[in-house]
Point group: C2
Amino acid sequence: MMAETRDRIIVATNELFRRQGYNGTSLSQISEAANATIGSIYHFFPGGKEALGVAVIETTGEMFRELFESIANEAPGPAEAYVAFFAGAGTVLAESGYIDPCPIGTIAREVANVSEPLRVAASNAFASWISAATRHLTNAGIPTEQAEQLAHVFVATVEGTFVLSRTQRSTAPLESAGRCVSRLVTLAIDETQRTPTP
Amino acid sequence: MMAETRDRIIVATNELFRRQGYNGTSLSQISEAANATIGSIYHFFPGGKEALGVAVIETTGEMFRELFESIANEAPGPAEAYVAFFAGAGTVLAESGYIDPCPIGTIAREVANVSEPLRVAASNAFASWISAATRHLTNAGIPTEQAEQLAHVFVATVEGTFVLSRTQRSTAPLESAGRCVSRLVTLAIDETQRTPTP
DNA sequence: GTCTATAATTTGATAGAC
DNA sequence: GTCTATCAAATTATAGAC
């Protein structure tokens, strides 16, 4: 069965934004890729391109948060989760021909000083990832403040390795990042166990 | 004395790209901001917007590499260099009203699958930063392979924290990154000293 | 909900006088 | 080297029939 029009529009837009960015993608391209007329796009997104961008950011943000949580649940230990996450990203990146795995960071950099609705949507998406990672790390026994720090670095490193790996057409940065973030988590857990809460 | 026209064009374009991205910036805007006619732009950059983008990436890439090297030279120790670098970036970011400190990552994400000249220019810029950081870390005694890994993570974290800090309008991610990268460097040096080369 | 037609503007780029 | 004028094409967005 054919997907609902609204979903087709969001999926097609997501992929085009990942390939060409926000300003590099036109509504006519979206219309063609989604097999929906421009009239349909404005029917579902009366706010036009900007509202469509917000919807893409929100759905992608949720998707990545769920992906992280599912990987974290399946990993044998807290530190291993991060190796697995970056390894998975590397596979996806290479298989897709080095298309950006995530449209959020690209849109954010393009419009953070131009469109407040898009900036806020991106900020909320990042915040939800940071919360999920912080929760994961505090559950592993790491004190809140340090867990938040590591969560920030994790999310930043994800976005950073996406640019770097994609630009250099190499998964090496992703693998390095997996190892390093994992090492930081292990270190934090070790420290916690050596100095238990009074 | 008024700066040379070519320089004015590059400087103005750099700032516009940092604020609005590559595709979000038009030649007419550049013309106005640089106080140069469109004819002048095409006189200095016969390759048009794409050639101008390559020039912006190359000059910015060099500038950041020199900045890193100067901070690394002045820092009291290898690990401190990274804290200082991220702290400096935080100050610049906040003072500029959270304009992107670096146009390279934004352009790269927008066009990595669309313009090969721009992708290659960005890749070269990142590679020069990675080389500089690797040199810095091997000089501190860290084995080459591990130094390269850390250099990858450093550059990725720089680009990643730029997106995150800018989107969230907070310097917290930059500070966390400075501490974490610094910790990784300290750890690597300690390990090296515990297990000296045979 | 979907379609076609179109408005109003802007885009990157070129030509040729000065 | 710089200027004005201009090109063809594409852009977001809207209107109104179906």
